[in-house]
């Protein structure tokens, strides 16, 4: 029976619309996977020697004290990104297959998920270094066993709680508060959790705790899944009662308002779009890495422009990169309704510009780090409005990934979104402003660098109508291909 399931999976993978895509995409995915593995491995070795040489502490003890955060972040990331193990269950329900078997297979599938394997690339090198450093191999093995049980407990915990909305925000909030208290020295949760992780190393009996938890979680998840494998239970799409909204105050924007109102509803009512907004809020804080000087590599002044672009343009970059895919599920309607391409594009443009302005105002907090920091953000905002808003729309014409609005589990799944053209278009988005700034900074001075970047933004803004004409033509050219691509649902 398992053999059948596996062939089904195999076919669904290779025959999916996404895989038949280009060689480019495969290379790109391969690159990312490799990147993560290398980063994890390097991070592991780096952490070990950093603690040992720079802090002159025992790597194991320090790592153990931070593992609680590791575990919780793992859970949060899983919640946001890991897909639920739903093999196409519906058509199997009426076939003579035991439900238990279906669920077993679905669970087995998650065991090999990247979210589980990933940890190994960090802990295995770390463990090897520990042993090399004189730790007892059997204890290291115990410790790894315990951690593995915890990682897999997270896996099944996520399966269990995945449908509970908002839970992740509560957990994330608590962690943020604990982290803050820890940082400012008021309360340190790690004092209470570190002994446990240390215990996994020292004491074989303690390892039984995570293993027991794991077994219990598997059993509960299995039970709850068996209950849910009915069309009107877990497999049903939940409908919430909703209110209609009146956004007529936007009508003053004329024809553009029609689309703006729609886009606002799109963002408010769809999981996927909502998480984009969350990401752009996170980008607001991205600048802290640069302006606080907490990371040495970012000390170079050129990175400040980089930060400026991300802080002011978080929404522009994360939402904009999927225009027009946001409208993929009803693209034929948009293309046959009484809509001029220009109006459609300009409404998206306005949305991005308004969001950029908003981010720029919100990021006024960076004034705390000096006028220079905020200047970088203002410059970035100008560049975003003048240049990046257009580039993002332009790149969008080539992205033909339909978006499933109701699911936000596809952050890693949007691999089709990458192709040669969109990759090339990231150059003007990110690299060009850095080059412009560097050109100014190293010839005359920092202010001249900012001026050059800002000038590019103003020039882009001035050429708006021209650029829109060009983009409109590209959209028209790509129209039929786009419609056909959106028809293929995952």
């Amino acid at each position: 029976m398992f053999k059948h399931f596996i062939t089904l999976q195999w076919k669904s993978f290779w025959r999916g619309a996404s895989v038949s895509a280009s060689l480019w995409m495969k290379l790109f995915m391969g690159f990312w996977a490799l990147w993560f593995i290398v980063m994890a491995g390097a991070g592991s070795i780096g952490t070990f020697y950093f603690i040992k040489k720079k802090l002159c502490e025992d790597p194991l003890i320090i790592l153990n004290s931070f593992l609680i955060y590791w575990v919780v972040f793992d859970l949060v990331f899983r919640y946001m990104l890991q897909k639920m193990p739903v093999i196409n269950i519906k058509p199997l329900l009426t076939l003579p297959v035991k439900k238990k078997k279906i669920i077993n297979f679905a669970f087995a599938k998650t065991v090999f998920s990247f979210f589980n394997i990933f940890h190994a690339f960090f802990f295995i090198p770390f463990s090897l270094l520990l042993i090399k450093d004189g730790a007892s191999a059997s204890n290291v093995l115990l410790w790894n066993l315990g951690l593995m049980a915890i990682v897999y407990s997270n896996n099944f915990l996520n399966i269990l709680v995945n449908n509970k909305d908002n839970l992740v925000f509560i957990v994330g909030g608590i962690v943020a508060i604990l982290g803050g208290l820890h940082y400012f020295g008021y309360f340190d949760i790690t004092i209470y959790t570190a002994p446990f992780f240390q215990g996994l190393f020292d004491n074989a009996i303690l390892v039984m705790i995570p293993i027991t938890i794991l077994i219990v979680l598997v059993v509960i998840a299995h039970k709850s899944f068996s209950k849910d494998v009915f069309l009107d239970a877990g497999l049903a799409i939940k409908a919430k009662e909703i209110k209609t909204e009146d956004l007529s105050w936007l009508d003053r924007f004329g024809k553009t308002a029609t689309f703006l109102k729609n886009d606002i509803k799109l963002i408010k009512r769809n999981k996927r779009a909502k998480s984009t907004v969350m990401v752009s809020i996170m980008f607001l804080f991205y600048g802290l890495l640069f302006f606080t000087g907490s990371i040495e590599a970012y000390e170079n002044p050129i990175w400040k422009v980089f930060a400026g672009i991300f802080v002011s343009g978080g929404f522009l970059l994360s939402f904009g990169q999927f225009v027009p895919s946001w409208d993929s599920s009803y693209y034929p309607l948009m293309m046959s309704q009484n809509i001029k391409y220009k109006e459609y594009l300009s409404s998206k443009w306005w949305l991005m510009v308004i969001a950029t302005l908003l981010s720029t105002i919100l990021s006024a907090g960076y004034l705390y780090f000096g006028w220079d920091a905020y200047l970088a953000i203002l410059t970035g905002a100008l560049y975003n409005v003048g240049v990046n808003s257009h580039v993002v729309l332009w790149a969008g014409a080539y992205i033909k990934t339909p978006i499933d609005l109701t699911s936000n589990k596809k952050a890693f799944g949007d691999k089709q979104a990458f192709n040669a053209k969109t990759l090339l278009l990231t150059l003007p988005k990110m690299v060009l402003p850095l080059i412009l700034y560097a050109a100014g900074h190293y010839t005359i001075g920092a202010n001249f660098g900012y001026a050059l970047v800002a000038l590019a933004g103003v020039a882009g803004f001035a050429l708006r109508d021209k650029v829109f004409d060009i983009i409109e033509n590209i959209y028209k050219e790509e129209k039929y291909k786009t419609i056909a691509a959106y028809k293929q649902k995952k």
């Binding site: 409908a239 009803y330 034929p332 309607l333 809509i339 609005l405």
Partner: protein, 231 residues
């Protein structure tokens, strides 16, 4: 009103549509029948410029659909659920379409209220997004949305499918009424021969992309069609 000239569509050597000439005059109610894969949806998609014919062109009121977007102001369509915006309620969707067609809320409300019978109390005031409605109810909303803003050309693909018997009967009345208006050209496709002969003045049969029958509807049409498809 609609003028189809030498239109063919070929996918990797496989011709799915090939029509040398077809003219649909203004005000006609036009029915398209054919088995699965006959090319009905392909033809409608080409008419709406959603796919590009391999050869030939389609004119809508003298406008070549792939050259200008002007036909969009007087043409409305409901092909499938990709014409619905899933995260809107039915009302919001109607207002959205209304705004695109230069109708204010009051206009839309007035029009929509005419179809309360057709909705059978399942569309308006539902506190539900369109994506959470049943297929049949989605179709009702989509069909009525295609009537907003007095379009002169109305294209409905398989409007009777998924509808319950009561709604089918009401839809036939709606289409008949539209057909009476000499300004409105209605194009529908259907698998249901009796419905389509009842509401359409003219019926065209497609088979494997070819036009093989072009009938002005009369008493005998239904028999003729049944005989044809029984073969």
């Amino acid at each position: 009103m609609i003028n189809i000239k030498d239109v063919s569509k070929t996918y990797t050597g496989n011709t799915v549509l090939n029509i040398a000439e077809l003219e649909i005059p203004k005000g006609q109610s036009f029915g398209l029948v054919g088995n699965n894969g006959a090319g009905k949806t392909t033809l409608f998609s080409a008419l709406l410029d959603l796919i590009r014919p391999t050869t030939g062109y389609i004119e809508n009121n003298g406008v070549k659909v792939h050259e200008s977007e002007d036909w969009k102001t007087y043409t409305a369509a409901f092909i499938d659920e990709t014409f619905l915006i899933g995260y809107l309620t039915a009302e919001e969707y109607f207002y959205f379409i209304g705004e695109l067609r230069g109708q204010n809320k009051a206009d839309v409300d007035a029009l929509v209220s005419q179809y309360e019978d057709f909705f059978h109390g399942e569309i308006l005031g539902q506190k539900k997004y369109l994506r959470d409605m049943s297929k049949g109810n989605q179709k009702k909303a989509g069909i009525v949305a295609a009537l907003i803003g007095k379009p002169q050309v109305i294209v409905l693909d398989e409007p009777f499918a998924n509808l319950d018997p009561t709604t089918q009967i009401r839809l036939k009345e709606i289409i008949k009424e539209l057909a009476l208006d000499p300004e409105v050209t209605v194009l529908i496709s259907s698998h249901d021969l009796s419905h389509v002969t009842e509401v359409c003045e003219r019926i065209v049969v497609l088979e494997k992309g070819q036009l093989i029958k072009d009938i002005n509807t009369s008493e005998e049409t239904l028999k003729e069609l049944e005989l044809h498809f029984a073969q």
